[in-house]
């Protein structure tokens, strides 16, 4: 199950890439800006501001989830079976289904369309999510197919998986974009999972001489404490043979509205850090890290 494919991405690894977003993630980072990627099943997003009250959804819904009265559109999510019919007819994208099944071949066909761009730019395929490690069979098959075609591969991961998953995927992955989200003690409260499995996995990858870029979300007040900087520094020094560089990703509040669209509670709201704030944090990291730190 994927929730998106983005071709021509210049934001997910080197060169121009096709990024395949797999749906479902075991973590629940409080700052997650893609909440529609978290669940493993399809979900319906409802964006009332886009609704022009045309009534098309009312007639197609088999569960009578939509009603319009007095110029107001009511949506009863508890009745919804996420069949997607209403989203198909909505002319204004007020309803949208997140999640669709695609075969390896279908995805590969899309990926191969941009081969020329990978060749010129040093790009390739990136698996992102959600969490690609959570759909290991699918990820393995797709990476194999891509390698078979001579296409460079990346995995963007939170690192939470059984060791055997990494054993299977490491030989097929040319570059890991591995998250460092917070200091170890804060992992459970900020992401919903403990850090030990995650960083044991990171060390495993380093042992295998995998190439790794560490990606660090920057959420002021949450993960920019000195302990965080210290632990990141220790880790990068320890694994400096494998870690190519560190990318700092400032928190993006654009995802906050999506929680409401999914009928879920947003776990955190904050402003986007200013460029100056991000630059300061990068400067602080540069003081202690033995590798390049860039804004990602």
């Amino acid at each position: 199950m994927i929730f998106d494919i983005i071709k021509g991405s210049v934001h997910d690894g080197p060169g121009i890439r096709t990024t395949v977003f797999l749906k479902g993630c075991p973590l629940r980072c409080i700052w997650c800006h893609n909440p529609e990627s978290q669940h493993f099943e399809k979900e319906l997003l409802w964006i009332p501001d886009n609704c022009i009250l045309c009534g098309a959804c009312i007639h197609t819904c088999p569960r009578a989830c939509h009603t319009i009265s007095d110029g107001h559109h009511q949506f009863r999510r508890d009745n919804c079976i996420r069949c997607g019919r209403c989203a198909e007819v909505c002319p204004e994208k007020a309803l949208r289904i997140s999640g669709r099944k695609m075969s390896i071949q279908e995805i590969l066909d899309v990926v191969l369309e941009d081969r020329l761009f990978y060749e010129i730019s040093g790009g390739g395929l990136t698996l992102s999510g959600g969490e690609p490690l959570a759909q290991v069979d699918f990820a393995e098959a797709l990476l194999k197919a891509a390698h078979h075609q001579g296409i460079h591969t990346c995995i963007e991961t939170c690192g939470y998986a059984e060791e055997s998953v990494l054993e299977r995927l490491a030989p097929l992955t040319d570059l890991w974009l591995f998250d460092f989200k917070a200091d170890f003690a804060s992992y459970p409260s900020l992401t919903g999972k403990p850090a030990d499995i995650i960083f044991a996995n990171l060390r495993k990858l380093a042992e295998k001489k995998s190439r790794i870029i560490l990606r660090c979300p920057f959420v002021p007040g949450r993960n920019d404490m000195s302990v965080c900087r210290k632990e990141l520094s220790d880790l990068v020094w320890e694994l400096r043979e494998s870690i190519q560089h560190v990318e700092v990703e400032p928190y993006n509040p654009l995802g906050e509205v999506k929680y409401a669209q999914l009928g879920r509670k947003c776990l955190m709201t904050a402003e986007k850090p200013s460029d100056a704030q991000t630059a300061r944090w990068i400067a602080l990291l540069r003081e202690v890290l033995p590798c390049e730190v860039i804004s990602g």
């Binding site: 021509g8 210049v10 121009i16 002319p91 204004e92 941009d114 010129i120 730019s121 986007k272």
Partner: protein
């Protein structure tokens, strides 16, 4: 006129500016009008000649501008966006140009050419007189001071002016002084606007290296001169004021061309290219507008230098693609030497430097409005425009619908091209340019002003805009009405004529169809066929000078203002929605960069030597320098357009800039061939910018 200017102008010199150029005639040059672009005073004073000679054609042509069908800038001939023929001057000097003119006169046997020779010679003599007045003024300033540094400064201006009054420049400093002075003098003498400040890396490298070798100049001194050369161009404008309070709404030509290939296909970039780029970045300049020419041989370091300002929120550099433009110029009759020396005028008007004028911004033609006028039955308006359009209602096949649309667009183009040829032939009387012409190649031999076709090349560009509307509308009718038969043509026409009100489902279907930029082979094929047909049609006409019409794909801020008059179209666009620039896909679809680039690269762009422009706005969030360089390489190598108008921005930053303008003074965005501070833009321009697709 030349003699009056030379007699009466005042040389103005500045203590901290090593160059001399200010004649105090700026207001006269602009005829006292703030909103006029470079040049124009003769045109404004003598435009009545057009009206008197061809009153009916004049009126209909102007009406087409007023009704957003095509531009009427000039109104029949472009009076600015020119490039002074620097390379000829750098080779021959004024005395050489004069000698060439006299030689031409000696050999010329046509008595009716005498006026041209006489006027051109007076023009050249007057320019020599103007330079000597600068020399004199500098000498006076020198004699009035005891300060050794001051004396050196004035002495250098004096000596340089004396030299340039006769000879070509012999040092790097003199080379820069020539570019600066002749750019300005070109604007003043003939009333037409110069937009290009030169291609200094290719034109001055020999002088720079010779200076270094002879110990006359250090790298640091050269860098300082480059900074001062550019700084005084930028500080002409107070770009922090709201746009409507700035001179010419903040837009100046002042274009500097860097990089690119030579006639043998070798890259010309050198240490000067790098120094100009670095200085522009270090000084945080907007002007001069840098147009950087890329090719598959552009070194990585230069791509990185070009990429860096974008990532800092300074979207100030234009990108020209030699892989597209040089073959297009060659195919359209330019020699390898002339094609490889091309420059882009004000925004993107491609000119063969030294051998032709600019005619790139006079008549943008809106395919979007042509589609609107085909669909919306509006006999009154058509009558005002003098156009007889066919009605598409009775088409019983897609071919018939297509033929109707193409016939209509050709009717409108024919009218425009014939009017330009008819009325434009008055241009030599409105605005003859003997001085400028004498500096161009071949006018001295032909004895004809460029306005009469005396230059080596005499093209007139026809830039098309609203391309995505045209293609997507045709595809929409093809699929919905004739292939899938989801609605009849009549229903479709009714929906569009009602601005889609009550037809939301049909519009949704239209928006989900294959479209331009979406990577669909059938759409690509249609787009290619249409461009080939339009190219063939347009180039079958001859222009006002007897030269060819050449095609382009771009427009200016018309994508904002014409949009207001352009009604709904079958591509799903509603009344008033903005147009897309050049070959940029519609704003209603969000495709990948790669499918946009591949679609663009599939077009027969070699038939569009006037330029073909693509807009891309990239999200700055998470964008690294390496990734941006990779993208620029791809755009160049797959030949996706002649020009890329790139922005790297973040939506949040734009929203915050709307709320807190004071904190975003440094955010500069690329608009329509030029860059401006975002916070100075008016509401329309901001909305247009924000509504561009973000990749």
């Amino acid at each position: 006129m030349y003699e009056i200017i030379a007699e009466n102008f005042t040389p103005v010199l500045f203590r901290n500016d090593p160059f001399f150029w200010e004649t105090g005639l700026k207001t006269a040059e602009y005829n006292g009008r703030r909103e006029l672009s470079a040049g124009g005073f003769l045109m404004l004073n003598r435009e009545h000649l057009y009206r008197e000679k061809h009153p009916e054609s004049f009126l209909e042509y102007i009406m087409a501008d007023r009704h957003a069908l095509h531009l009427a800038y000039g109104p029949f001939c472009d009076y600015d966006h020119h490039c002074f023929p620097f390379s000829n001057l750098l080779k021959l000097g004024l005395s050489g140009i004069l000698a060439r003119l006299r030689e031409g006169r000696r050999k010329n046997t046509c008595p009716d050419r005498d006026d041209f020779y006489t006027a051109a010679e007076k023009g050249l003599n007057s320019v020599q007189k103007i330079i000597l007045k600068f020399a004199q003024a500098a000498e006076q300033r020198k004699n009035a001071t005891e300060d050794p540094a001051d004396r050196t400064h004035w002495e250098r201006i004096e000596q340089t002016a004396l030299k340039l009054s006769q000879d070509p420049p012999g040092t790097f400093f003199e080379g820069l002084a020539s570019l600066r002075f002749f750019y300005e003098i070109g604007n003043i003498m003939d009333g037409i606007g110069m937009s290009v400040l030169g291609s200094p890396d290719r034109q001055l490298i020999r002088l720079y290296r010779a200076d270094l070798q002879a110990g006359r100049l250090t790298r640091e001194e050269a860098y300082d001169l480059i900074c001062r050369f550019m700084l005084q161009v930028d500080c002409k404008l107070d770009s922090s004021r709201p746009l409507d309070k700035q001179y010419n709404a903040g837009e100046q030509g002042d274009t500097l061309i860097l990089g690119g290939l030579d006639e043998a296909g070798n890259p010309v970039d050198n240490e000067l290219t790098e120094m100009f780029l670095r200085a522009h970045e270090e000084l945080q300049l907007i002007y001069p507008k840098i147009q950087f020419r890329t090719s598959r041989r552009t070194p990585a370091e230069l791509f990185h230098l070009v990429a860096r300002p974008y990532l800092a929120g300074r979207n100030v550099i234009g990108l020209l693609n030699d892989e597209v433009l040089i073959p297009a110029l060659l195919k359209n009759g330019k020699t390898p030497h002339d094609a490889s020396g091309y420059v882009a005028g004000g925004c993107w008007e491609v000119i063969a430097e030294g051998t032709e004028h600019s005619e790139g911004a006079n008549c943008y033609f809106s395919l979007g409005r042509a589609m609107d006028l085909t669909i919306h039955h509006d006999p009154e308006l058509l009558k005002e425009l003098g156009l007889d359009f066919k009605q598409p209602d009775s088409a019983s096949s897609f071919q018939e619908f297509l033929d109707c649309c193409m016939d209509n667009v050709k009717t409108a183009l024919k009218k425009m091209l014939e009017t330009i040829a008819e009325c434009g032939s008055v241009w030599p009387e409105v605005n003859p340019c003997p001085f400028f012409s004498a500096c161009l190649d071949t006018c001295a031999e032909t004895g004809l002003d460029y306005t009469q076709g005396g230059a080596k090349y005499s093209p007139h560009s026809v830039p098309l805009t609203g391309f995505a509307i045209w293609i997507d509308s045709l595809e929409s009718v093809r699929k919905i009405c004739f292939e899938n038969r989801e609605a009849s043509l009549q229903e479709m026409l009714t929906a569009v004529r009602n601005n889609w009100k009550g037809f939301e489902q049909l519009r949704k279907k239209v928006l989900s169809l294959p479209h331009w930029g979406g990577g669909n082979p059938a759409v690509r094929e249609l787009a290619g066929e249409i461009l080939r047909e339009l190219h063939q049609f347009i180039t079958s006409f001859r222009n006002e000078r007897g030269g060819p019409f050449q095609c382009g794909l771009y427009s200016y801020s018309d994508i904002v203002f014409w949009a207001k008059q352009t009604r709904a179209t079958p591509d799903g666009r509603k009344d008033g929605d903005f147009l897309a620039q050049g070959i940029t896909p519609s704003r209603m679809h969000h495709d990948s960069i790669t499918s946009v680039l591949k679609d663009a690269a599939s077009l027969p762009l070699e038939d569009f030597p006037a330029n073909s422009v693509l807009n891309l706005n990239l999200s700055r969030n998470g964008l690294t320098e390496d990734a941006l360089v990779a993208l620029l390489r791809c755009w160049t190598e797959i030949k996706a357009s002649g020009m890329l108008q790139l922005n790297c921005i973040s939506r949040e930053e734009l929203e915050d800039a709307d709320r807190n303008p004071g904190s975003h003074e440094g955010l500069i965005v690329r608009l329509y061939g030029y860059s401006a501070r975002y916070v100075t833009l008016d509401a329309d321009r901001r909305r247009e910018f924000k509504e561009r697709n973000l990749f």
